[in-house]
């Protein structure tokens, strides 16, 4: 079972729910692993008392110019659809940040003068806590493309924890990073707030998940503040509301300190119970 916890809007509680839910499930004896796929700003590890046990370098493949046999014919520049190659009078220049690793320049070069080489884009870190393991992808600063790292983090988790329930903490938004973090999951939980911002971004996220044919359920966080727009929308769209987490400054405070919440605040734990019951009912 793979569950993605996502949201259109940032700061709605993805990390709070995923880190607490995973810990709680583990404490109930479940085999569970948490994957932090918000590789631009991974911070699940801040909430879990754990030790780093393994680190793997994440690479993307880029062409590297080899001048020896190059005819400077310009075929590479012609076939690159991302403007990542510049054909200069006496040189071929590669712009790694624009490269999508399609291999076209490398494999269509008549003299094989652009072999593909690995370039580091980030790290995959595995942490162990008392009860469960956690894996995060961490993008290097200045790297633009997070997709390859998200894909590799998912692969790492699949390889090392094939039998586990997998909880994916997704990045915010609705574009390619979220899609990568959601497309292989069995179910997507969208977390929102009951505000016009929350509703606007929830709608965008729901539409995105429709493109992926993903089934979704909604958690309303900070419930009690804001309006009833989100609830009405979910009813109209037949989207299950899995739980409503009460607006509570104490929760915000524990979160601010990097602390887990479910073991200190009863209503929050009750919400997690509702999530677990819901997940249990999924096929």
């Amino acid at each position: 079972m793979k569950i993605t916890i996502a949201s259109g809007k940032g700061g709605t509680g993805k990390t709070t729910v995923s880190s607490n839910l995973t810990t709680y499930l583990a404490s109930l004896g479940k085999k569970v692993v948490l994957a932090d796929l918000d590789v631009e700003e991974p911070n699940s590890a801040l909430f879990i008392d754990s030790t780093l046990v393994n680190t793997k370098v994440s690479n993307k493949m880029i062409p590297q110019w080899n001048a020896t046999d190059c005819l400077l014919c310009g075929k590479c520049e012609e076939v690159c659809n991302f403007n990542a190659i510049l054909h200069l009078p006496e040189e071929i220049r590669v712009f790694p940040e624009l490269c999508h690793s399609c291999y076209a320049c490398s494999e269509l070069c008549p003299t094989s003068s652009l072999p593909m080489v690995a370039e580091k884009i980030g790290l995959i870190n595995e942490y162990e806590s008392e009860l469960f393991s956690m894996v995060e992808g961490r993008l290097d600063l200045g790297q633009e493309m997070s997709i390859p790292l998200i894909a590799q983090t998912i692969e790492y988790v699949d390889e090392h924890f094939p039998e586990h329930i997998k909880i994916y903490d997704a990045p915010p938004g609705t574009s390619c990073p979220v899609i990568e973090a959601s497309r292989y999951s069995d179910f997507v939980i969208l977390i929102t707030e009951a505000t016009p911002f929350g509703l606007n971004d929830l709608k965008l996220a729901v539409e995105t998940m429709k493109v992926l044919n993903q089934k979704v359920g909604v958690i309303i966080n900070r419930y009690g503040i804001g309006d009833d727009g989100v609830e009405k929308y979910c009813q109209d769209e037949n989207i299950p509301i899995i739980t409503k987490i009460k607006n509570d400054r104490e929760v915000a405070k524990l979160y601010s300190n990097g602390e887990l919440i479910y073991n200190k605040i009863e209503h929050f734990k009750n919400s997690l119970d509702e999530i677990i019951t819901f997940i249990g009912g999924l096929k």
């Binding site: 259109g8 809007k9 940032g10 700061g11 709605t12 990390t15 918000d38 631009e40 700003e41 911070n43 801040l46 909430f47 076939v79 659809n81 991302f82 999508h100 690793s101 399609c102 291999y103 076209a104 494999e107 269509l108 993008l139 600063l141 200045g142 633009e144 493309m145 997070s146 990045p171 915010p172 938004g173 609705t174 574009s175 390619c176 990073p177 497309r183 707030e193 505000t195 016009p196 911002f197 606007n200 971004d201 965008l204 996220a205 539409e207 995105t208 429709k210 493109v211 992926l212 900070r222 503040i225 804001g226 309006d227 400054r249 915000a252 405070k253 979160y255 601010s256 300190n257 990097g258």
Partner: protein, 294 residues
Amino acid sequence: MREIVVISGKGGTGKTSLSASFAYLAKQDAVVCDCDVDAANMHLLLDANFKEQRDFHSGELAIINPQICTNCGDCFDVCRFDAITKETDFHVVDAISCEGCHYCSRICPVEAITMQTQKTGDIFISDIKNGAKMIHAKLGFGAENSGKLVSKVKQIAKELALKEDKSYVITDGSPGIGCPVISSLSGANLVVLVTEATVSGLHDLQRVYQLTKTFNLNVVCIINKYDLNMDVTKKIEIYLEEQEVAVIAKLPYDEDFTKAVSVAKPIVEFDENCKLTEQISSSWEKIKIILKDR
């Protein structure tokens, strides 16, 4: 014309509430620009009227003509994105996986594959409630290239600001440190980092600040919800002091932020006389002075 870009690393720290407030305070002397094209919602606070719409085209998609396809599988062999699958009599492209690299169409021996330009978003030019103009966008569901859309939105905003002789472009950025954020930073005269007094706020602030440093940008910071955790606020202040980044405001944890959003108003319009409004107004004045000095 000076461009102010508001970003945060972490989502939900108050970027949009603050940039909409600055936009409201700048009155007609600014063009406002929402670069969070993934999940744009600044228009909700500023009564944007979606006056003008433009299509945004970016990226290509491979299409295999099943009548021509001989099912040889060459396209499948070269595709690095697992975007091509084999049907009984021909191959097909999965639109979500296709990166538009063109490789398959170049090597197809029977030229069965064509590349189609994709409409991946809409750009809007709106009038907003204080008489200014706002540029915003909506990325297509599941679309790529949000960085390019951000660049386009910024370009339109800057051209408009120059044409109409406005003093400021106020840009609301997106969370993260990846391609849309990097695109939103280009050409910024001042970056306002909005953080919050939480361990994740601090963690994400450090990463996003380091990113701005690689581009040699001028940076100031606003600490939101500072009273939620004084220890973390202290750590944020120490970090910023080491980095010689000025803190232009420390705002309290205040549910008025959410209440203002619920009635679709920037906080400075929601309650013109409250302490928050006073603080935000004073940070806007500071921003103007900083920009004048530079």
